[in-house]
Symmetry: D2
Amino acid sequence: MAKKKLNVGLIGYLFMGKAHSNGWRQASRFFDLKRDICMHTICGRNSTAVEKSRKQYGWDHMETDWRKVVANPEIDIIDINTPNDSHAEIAIAAAKAGKHILCEKPLAMNVKQCRQMLQAVKKSKVTHMICHNYRRIPAIAQAKKMIKEGVLGEIRHYHARYSQSWLVDPKAPRLWRMQKQYAGSGAHGDINAHIIDLARFLVGEFDEVSGQMHTFIKQRPLPDNPKKMGRVSVDDAAQFIGRFKNGALANLEATRFATGRKNHIHIEINGAKGSLEFNLEDMNRLKYFDNSVPLDRQGFSDIIVTQQNGVHPYVGQWWPPGHIIGYEHTFVHTIADFINAVAEGKSVQPTFEDGLKNQQVLESVEKSANTRRWVKV
Amino acid sequence: MAKKKLNVGLIGYLFMGKAHSNGWRQASRFFDLKRDICMHTICGRNSTAVEKSRKQYGWDHMETDWRKVVANPEIDIIDINTPNDSHAEIAIAAAKAGKHILCEKPLAMNVKQCRQMLQAVKKSKVTHMICHNYRRIPAIAQAKKMIKEGVLGEIRHYHARYSQSWLVDPKAPRLWRMQKQYAGSGAHGDINAHIIDLARFLVGEFDEVSGQMHTFIKQRPLPDNPKKMGRVSVDDAAQFIGRFKNGALANLEATRFATGRKNHIHIEINGAKGSLEFNLEDMNRLKYFDNSVPLDRQGFSDIIVTQQNGVHPYVGQWWPPGHIIGYEHTFVHTIADFINAVAEGKSVQPTFEDGLKNQQVLESVEKSANTRRWVKV
Amino acid sequence: MAKKKLNVGLIGYLFMGKAHSNGWRQASRFFDLKRDICMHTICGRNSTAVEKSRKQYGWDHMETDWRKVVANPEIDIIDINTPNDSHAEIAIAAAKAGKHILCEKPLAMNVKQCRQMLQAVKKSKVTHMICHNYRRIPAIAQAKKMIKEGVLGEIRHYHARYSQSWLVDPKAPRLWRMQKQYAGSGAHGDINAHIIDLARFLVGEFDEVSGQMHTFIKQRPLPDNPKKMGRVSVDDAAQFIGRFKNGALANLEATRFATGRKNHIHIEINGAKGSLEFNLEDMNRLKYFDNSVPLDRQGFSDIIVTQQNGVHPYVGQWWPPGHIIGYEHTFVHTIADFINAVAEGKSVQPTFEDGLKNQQVLESVEKSANTRRWVKV
Amino acid sequence: MAKKKLNVGLIGYLFMGKAHSNGWRQASRFFDLKRDICMHTICGRNSTAVEKSRKQYGWDHMETDWRKVVANPEIDIIDINTPNDSHAEIAIAAAKAGKHILCEKPLAMNVKQCRQMLQAVKKSKVTHMICHNYRRIPAIAQAKKMIKEGVLGEIRHYHARYSQSWLVDPKAPRLWRMQKQYAGSGAHGDINAHIIDLARFLVGEFDEVSGQMHTFIKQRPLPDNPKKMGRVSVDDAAQFIGRFKNGALANLEATRFATGRKNHIHIEINGAKGSLEFNLEDMNRLKYFDNSVPLDRQGFSDIIVTQQNGVHPYVGQWWPPGHIIGYEHTFVHTIADFINAVAEGKSVQPTFEDGLKNQQVLESVEKSANTRRWVKV
């Protein structure tokens, strides 16, 4: 029997728009959803480009004014994929219109905006989710399951580095991502936010932090006129040490200047009974060291997280063991869980509250970098 | 402007049916195709199961008699995903009906059938392709490009092992894949066929071979009645050494008894100027050793094959560098190239002739195993 | 022709005594030294144990009072391998006696002692060296060579973690290494000192730091009486972020609580033109990413640093390419260079001045941890 | 108390002479031997070169005629490190003189010689050992222990490749190792012999084989006169498939033409309950897959084989966990076990009988390559 469809309005059509479109298209093909999905409207300011994306990604309608999408009574869900400075306004409007909301990270430009957004969704009682898609990498979901079962024991260390290299070239143009007024921050909000989220997901809440942020290249050619230079007003790299409320030590670093690293996250978590290691560029694997194995056979086990349902999370919906999945599957998993939560009127992690807490950590690090002191989160 | 759609009829709806359905659905979303695709009809013998798959995978119609699909004048393309023993009959009928054909590997049960199929498609002048999807793993396509450019120099060794473990458990049931009359052979035709195809793609034609095939567990429980045992009439493992026409040495092994290996292909190719190494379980990577680098810096380079168009093949259509893709993408690439070939009335590798040549190698190894002598391919 | 031998007196006979003894024994067997070595006297307080070590390691004489060794006019070289709190006294006495000195790290308990030691050796004009043996791992020496040649360009990041796990077990006894009065500090002086030294060797001088130090388990059983507990007065883990004078960012962490890590150092150095990666547990390898390679072939090269003389440093004295060496070889290399420097009356890095500078970084981090502020080095 | 020393005479002073000298020098420094060792005499035909080696490696005497060493009543042990064609003559003479014998591999030029040597040592009742040093890599000894304990269950596959690259360059000179009259065979006897030995050690006896041997470059410059070319009369690569008596399948390949591989052995052993993987270039590690681990945590464990005595074999005599050892340590382990066997009048594996059985496999493969048929070992 046909389930009543949920109509989705997607705001934003670039990199994240492409990834989310794929998520909406594929979710029902691989997961048993409680409601069917209708890819109703895609929205962006450039009508030619949006129409092209509409056809390419398979949306029914296009729109150039996000307010009309939010106002459209047919639409059930608003999916926000725009630059960071517009998240708050769109989300608050969507909440007021009673739409369920999926919003790209970082949730907003600052803690204040995040609070307003959280207030709005709570008031409207809509389902709200921030798209920290890496939580639903099967290997990360498996790590979460293992930690929850206590296999690591008391956690002592969370050591993570998110390293990219796309700004190593001084000729790389100054995009919106390098301007404070649109992006809020640089590597910090863009990619540190991811490993902060994974830290909160896997280890717990941060207690205090000491960090620094740095801009290696302070002027870059403008995209439209490469002969003219524009100021880079965000960080190229941000690093901090800290402490979790449960006593574990934290060490996080994000950089766009790690030559050779494309989209590399290395995480190591050390507990009293075991350790976990993860690398995003080998995202189908999770390495696990178990202190309880006979000593002559102990070593980090290289788990290929591709087993069937009931064994490994999410991945069994795709292919048989050993057949790996890729980056975009994490959005499909996120959207599948989101749809089921909407269908049942339930909450689904990570919520806007997670987005707020993430922003609090981000801001604490920024404050620490500015004041050159430790800051309580 | 809308391009006239090509209507596809898919025969078979299980593992390969799911993978191919995804390919037909996704191809136009990520690749600029010369013709649009209509997922017209999915076909299988069990009407309930096929109808379920139709809905799940997004086909317009369903059918339980493949002959009707082949006879349907609306259908342009027949995609064959059935057990191996029916490939020849369906393909020959489809060719006679003037349909373009994509056929799963192995092409057929024996060389004789392959020849008849090749004859049929040649006579009908339809586009024909065997789905050796691993050729379109970006790392493999990149390897091909490099070899073609001569970066390896004269090739001396092709050393490959395809190892799985799904039959290690003696309680694993006897499926059609373990019966000679349906499958033709076991690990040999199922997975040796893949590394034989990659050998032919990357190195060249085989000259002669000496091999052995072995069945470790000769009786297995029947799937419907696990208390009753049925005979396993195919090989659990097949291995052969040989020689290519260009003088390189070959060493290939396929097994379903490699405990711990899920879907593992390890390939090493050694040439006079360089070497390549590939592992399917890390399929976004290609390792390359270059003899011309200064000696103190020589080492196998771990290339993450995820760069933009014009740099790495296929993968730039998906996501930015460092964002990996998975198993099913290889079917999308295959189908994208197939559609463009059909649109332009061109041939596209690997053709049924490649399927025939693959079968000739498979049969030569079987003959060698039976006669315990070297056999000319 | 026989060269006049240099007589060595070794103070300390435990772990480091064993490693240094091996270095003195092997150096002339694999390296062309400018002077021969005589393993003259080994010294320690427990006469039975020292005599056992004398025989086991091949020293001519034994002694229980280090003052007698230092006073012995036959002795040319004093090699200090005692607990950290006695380094200064022994070294200063040895310098006054005109002995050349090799001293284990950390140089002393604090900056003040280091200064006194440096003053003493400078006044006596003896050759002085601190045994930071990891500088002479061939892969590290190769890294140094490459950085010096400019292959990395401007360096942006030094990211290092030294992780061990020997204190994870709360029943591990409280040794001298866990007592401030003997060891000075814990993981910090013991193993952070190593990656600080490598940072100074490979990247440059530190400018300022912000760090924290932490003791996870504050009481441990006494070695002689496991029923009684003793206080752990040093850090189990120490981590800091910082800045080099050349503008690069630093991130260093040392811990004895990384379950599964035995003696693991992971270092990544990112420069404008390339990157290097090193892991002590794979110490024969150096990974190198070169931005100037054609984009489709870029990747971290896994260099096995085992080539002949003139290609890779040190290692060609041992075995043919591909035949790896181990931990103790780094002491042989250190001692070979030290002997040649003594023979020629030259200085040899790392000197006591390096030991002093290392101590300044260590103390700055401690001060930062105590004051919770950034500290200039 | 001083133990009576065993006097050693070493015949041969080149690569193996250097490695064995180090073994004799180091064994008593790290292992508790039942007898002390005296490095009595080193022997070779070129007196200047031998005298240089004598001093360099620390032997008491030198000699240019091996017969005199064998005849010397002071000598207890003869260690044979000469080219393969002289092993038999020297060993038989040494046996007749009542010397205990350690002999480099391959034992001799052919099965006939091996039989004569075995007969000679049996008749004289001396201790005899063939130096297959890789058996005493701690990771291999650990693998043996695990297999013996049954952790792999019934073994199905032994898949091994020994790959080097030192002959890739056509200008590499024609040494004795490339001439049949001195070397017997090429890659086959030199390096296939090693992985045959490990197969026999870890899996069992071979039943039958089918192989091929190939010479890629048939003429090479003479070492003394590079303008003149000499014929290469041995194989550059040798590969074979086969069957063990216990039913496991074998796949072995040895080549000197694997560009990029210096001294690479990759071995994978698959059993019903688990698998092992080993790579000589990472010789301190053993990878182990255990079928009995909960399915969501299964993966190949990367065991760093460096734990203390009672946990891992041999390696605890050296350094603490995580401190790796290198190539030459395997000779130290071999010699330590040999000395203890001599001291106790016991046998020690691998004996000359192992050398004979190894030669039988080598010859069976050669016969198979010549007759192009399967050959019973």
